[in-house]
Symmetry: C2
Subunit: 325 residues, 2 copies
């Protein structure tokens, strides 16, 4: 593989001049520029990016930490990140962690080892305090509320959001309400559960453990929810489901079992994914794509403007009224 030195020799110039030509610096005479260009073509030369990265101290790579690559939520989020990264000529290093703390730690280490200029956290299991020290090595932007930590974040208020979903259901006469969440102990889930309990308290309804479904992450998880629902003596008349896919699974299985939507069971989804439109699903749009692109922009700004203090940006959400409530 030819290097800059060989180009310099063939073109009859110094390596500095070659570098200037490659990087479009000013102050290179037309003759030499042409000579260099010709040498580059002649030797079929390409820069060794590892040398560039080492020399510059940056890589134009952003790490993306997600528990799973194959999940509608993260796919949409990554699409937002990617679209922005593409425009800024940044590459994405997608790191699947499976919520494994060791894997998550490895991603953080890669930032320290200068393999990437910054990290966007889609979701994680490590505590903020364990992540915080790494902000020293580059911007870390979380796509969830990072609270008072020194981590930047783009997020939405899931308490509010859930409250609004509850309000919407209650206004339409529902009092028997259940929910479907993902990880039981995640910060978001805890907030949602609190919103749920507060909303029920406000209408003097008791909280029932059996109406709370956890580990609802994928479309197929909707089936079990319906089967459990069918076995209950007292059933919720509405479900707040934090994933359109799960909601779609519920609706499909419900219809198969003769359950009318929304008469027998009202459903509100989350994310406003394409599947929600197809199912004519009432859902809360939480702007995942925008969250992804905002997260990238934030990381990018910190890298290029060398900002250090964390930034927090709250995004809005929007209840989309369709036919499942």
């Amino acid at each position: 593989m030819p290097n800059i030195k060989q180009i310099a020799k063939i073109a009859g110039v110094s390596v500095s001049t070659v570098s200037r030509v490659i990087n479009h610096h000013a102050y290179v005479s037309e003759d030499k520029r042409r000579a260099v260009m010709e040498a580059i073509v002649q030797l079929n030369y390409s820069r060794n990016l590892n040398a560039v990265h080492l020399s510059k101290g940056t890589t134009n790579i952003i790490g993306v930490m997600v528990p799973s690559i194959n999940h509608a939520y993260f796919s949409r989020l990554m699409e937002g990140i990617s679209s922005e990264a593409l425009m800024k000529d940044y590459q994405l290093m997608v790191c699947q962690t499976n919520y494994n703390p060791v894997s998550e730690g490895k991603v953080l280490d890669m930032l320290k080892m200068k393999q990437m200029d910054g990290i966007i956290i889609g979701s994680k299991t490590l505590a903020w305090e364990q992540i915080e020290p790494f902000t020293e090595y580059g911007p870390i932007v979380a796509c969830e509320d990072a609270g008072t930590s020194a981590i930047s974040s783009v997020y939405l208020d899931h308490y509010d959001c859930f409250r609004q979903g509850m309000r919407y259901l209650i206004e339409r006469g529902h009092r028997q309400i259940g929910f479907c969440l993902g990880r039981a102990d995640s910060a978001n889930s805890l907030k949602r559960r609190r919103a749920y309990e507060d909303a029920l308290a406000a209408i003097h309804e008791a909280v029932r453990e059996e109406w709370m479904f956890y580990q609802c992450l994928r479309i197929e998880d909707g089936l079990a929810v319906v089967h459990q629902w069918l076995r209950m003596r007292e059933r919720p008349t509405a479900l707040l489901v934090t994933s359109d896919q799960v909601a779609a699974g519920i609706i499909t299985e419900a219809r198969k079992n003769g359950i009318r939507i929304p008469e027998d069971l009202a459903v509100i989804g989350f994310d406003n994914q394409p599947i929600a439109q197809v199912f004519d699903l009432t859902t809360i749009d939480n702007q995942l794509f925008e969250m992804g692109s905002a997260a990238f922009q934030m990381a990018y700004d910190h890298i290029t403007k060398k900002r250090t203090k964390p930034e927090n940006r709250e995004l809005g959400y929007l209840l989309i009224e369709r036919s499942t409530v």
Copy 2:
């Protein structure tokens, strides 16, 4: 940021010894090893991976070229790649191309510039001849039939596969059969169309342009198919749909319009994604996950064993009988 030199100084050894300790080489006395380890902890040292990459000439990074990050097909494929990469301690650089030849070229360039050790092509628009020259810089594995080119590949016989779908429908009495494909001019689509035409010819049925739907990529694309179907005077009684998502969209919209599945319209999907299970959709499982992991393994083998001749591996497929035919 501390470097290996400072560690060496503090530990009272040479940089070679530090490197040996870090890389777990033999022949380092216990005293020095400990001294080095202590210095590393003391200075909170981490290697600069860019220097490592430059020095070693490899990066342990595999590039993944996909048109879209947010698409069930590629998500599943990438999941397969990722699971294998995780085990081998490789990182994934996911490059979204939007089928833009310029973007695709950039990915290939990154291989040449040693930013990655190999490339897995999920799908592309460039011609094989344009890709071939880059195999010189590292293994390129395509997740589609690379024909007689010098590109390695993991693929399945989409002609056969489509023929089998057609046979299944014909055996069940269908003669009016249509299909839904993605890109009209992709190699796979052409093969499928050929299989379709051959199958119809075998039962002496004419080919009808209006029963061929293209650009069917996402769940929402199923709606338009149904609406067109409704407007036809003569309708196909069965559709071969090369995506479970699209099939699910079709089924959902069909049911909404009172079309009975499979009585009025039989549907076969492709991929055997979770959504197919939920919809109890008859589908052809083409082992996307396995394709992804096989592709990674192939790339990995070429990197580590420095093989050069291309390899081609055909995977099987399996028709999953469910209730939509």
